[in-house]
Symmetry: C2
């Protein structure tokens, strides 16, 4: 299946568009909350919908280990298993193999690794990553890639790009599910020539979408910001462009300005569980005593369930006494905040105001509280 | 304020009725989910409503320690603080002082105790328990009582009853909030003569409702079941009757048959967090491997959010990987299950079918799985 992607407005290199999946439409730029183990942590599908989520991400590595992709297939697929009837993108498992698995041996064939859960020895090949994602039944599958760390030497980086290109070809050959789109991943670190050559080779094979992998792997945010305009420009204009695993609101804004359409990141839920709330005025740390008697919502103009019902004082109390409702309510707000950012970015592109967006979105200068 | 309680139907000694509070109507028999620290653990107010909750319980002891009843008062009261706009009943704190506090000295004046949170020395008197609950602004407040353990000797039991009666009188004198009802608590353990005399003395003072305290404190369930018909009959017929801290579905059924109208218990949420689901066919332990591939909901005919969307296999997976959505979804189901039980009991009374209720509610004989 090829996803039909339509660019509706452009402002400089920034794009507002839409694409349609078997489980519904997605307006871009879009953010995908992360449902690693078939659950966006602490949040029900109903709450996700209410927060404005259009599409979510599932992690192939985690799901194939537990409960297993064949079990999910036998139970009707990931959508039905987790009761999310909207679009789902699954990653290929590559990133987690390189970041989580205990031991790994990479060859041209694939990756052999030891499960971080139970020590089992497993193999992930391009063909197997496709089969797993076909079992999961996501709307968008990703090709297996090799994701080197930020400090990888040039030889390693070149080898990773060579393998990533070869694996993308094998992924496409292995892929057979007609109701699932397949995206390729561009690697190359901060080497722009390598990024260009990787993107050009992958572009010949007409994937449904193109992702930038290998960012947010330890490099300075400024280095990523500097590389994004070029890296985005190497990708086919007519296909959705996805920046994997990024990032903070300020990173997403720079990336959208550069022409990226899709994002995912664990920050909204991870920070929510850690009592940290995203606001346009910076980060609020709800464990701080300054919130003890504060009757205000996290953000005055936020339409999310948390902000419509609960004070900072109440949220502070929940974290003080370690009630699990605290992580849930803050995750809901943070997801809603990210989705509100995406919607505002989309509107700014439609109104050709992307150039002034960043200075207007943040209500106060970023402080050291912000991350 | 006196709560207007209307008995709408009777079947034997069982009653179906209604009462109205400043925050809405309650149909009885009713079950109150427990929101100890201004949160029904893991469940949002919206999810509570959807599960069918009419009225919830807050714990005075916990709330006065953290975040403090005056802070809650200053922020507009407990309803606003926790965003539950339905009726709330608060206990007096007595039960937790006797079960949780580290050290305590009881005198006719009140109880001096050491906080289980931070070791502070605090005093709870009948007057102070009333003032705290007036600060919280619950719809129904409870008198401070002395709650002896099941194995207390007769002298201790008599002394506790004498104090409980004296403290009820002082609570009534101290109570001034016109938009809050005050219930008295009958003590006396399993000594029916003591229960009768305590109930008779408290009845003279025309409280808005009467509770049975001192059950579920270590006695055999059968001993409680045997004592309930008499203990309920000692309470004024025209007032709501509340059995505190009870219990399992089978306990609630016996109590409703005996003429009890109100219940609270932590079992639905506590068991939910521990992967244990109440069903009419007995308890399901969701961590058990037998659920791994089971596509069925917890209960086929349950209308709750969890049963409408998720399989036992998915819930099993959530507990296997320790996703916090597991406790939330099971708590929602268990609360809905209890509220469905109450609604079915009410209907059985209205249709004069309470005698056959128990045998029809449970779909299979109770097994050792059931608790």
């Amino acid at each position: 299946m090829t996803i039909q992607f339509t660019i509706q407005s452009q402002d400089g290199t920034a794009r507002a568009g839409r694409f349609v999946t078997p489980h519904g439409e997605v307006l871009t730029p879009c953010f995908m909350p992360v449902g690693t183990r078939a659950s966006v942590k602490g949040v029900t599908p109903d709450q996700l919908r209410l927060a404005g989520a259009q599409i979510i991400l599932g992690n192939t590595y985690h799901l194939t280990l537990r409960p297993g992709d064949e079990l999910i297939h036998d139970l009707g697929g990931l959508h039905r298993f987790m009761a999310w009837d909207g679009p789902i993108l699954t990653d290929s498992g590559g990133f987690q193999v390189f970041s989580l698995a205990d031991l790994r041996q990479v060859s041209d064939q694939g990756v052999v690794f030891r499960s971080h859960v139970d020590g089992r020895i497993l193999e992930l090949t391009p063909e197997k990553a496709v089969r797993i994602q076909e079992n999961l039944g996501s709307d968008i599958a990703m090709c297996l890639d090799e994701c080197p760390p930020a400090d990888a030497d040039p030889a390693k980086l070149h080898e990773a790009v060579r393998r990533t290109i070869d694996w993308a070809r094998r992924s496409q050959q292995a892929h057979g599910r007609s109701d699932q789109a397949l995206f390729a991943i561009v690697q190359g670190g901060l080497d722009l020539e390598l990024r260009r050559s990787c993107a050009e080779q992958l572009s010949r094979w007409d994937f449904s979408g193109y992702a930038l992998g290998g960012f947010s792997v330890g490099e300075a945010p400024e280095a990523m910001h500097a590389a994004l305009p070029a890296c985005a420009s190497f990708l086919p204009e007519t296909k959705p462009r996805y920046l994997m695993g990024v990032g903070r609101p300020q990173d997403i804004i720079v990336a959208v300005e550069s022409g990226i359409d899709m994002f995912d990141c664990v920050l909204p839920t991870r920070n929510g569980r850690n009592a940290s709330a995203f606001t346009r005025a910076g980060t609020l740390r709800l464990r701080n005593a300054c919130h003890r008697r504060d009757p205000r919502p996290l953000e005055d103009d936020c339409p999310c369930y948390t902000c419509r019902h609960f004070s900072r004082a109440y949220l502070h109390h929940l974290f003080q006494v370690e009630e699990m409702l605290g992580p849930t309510l803050l995750s809901i707000h943070n997801i809603a905040h990210y989705l509100r950012l995406m919607s505002a970015l989309r509107q700014a592109i439609q109104h050709r105001q992307i150039a002034s967006f960043r200075s207007q979105w943040f209500l106060a200068p970023l402080t050291s509280h912000d991350r």
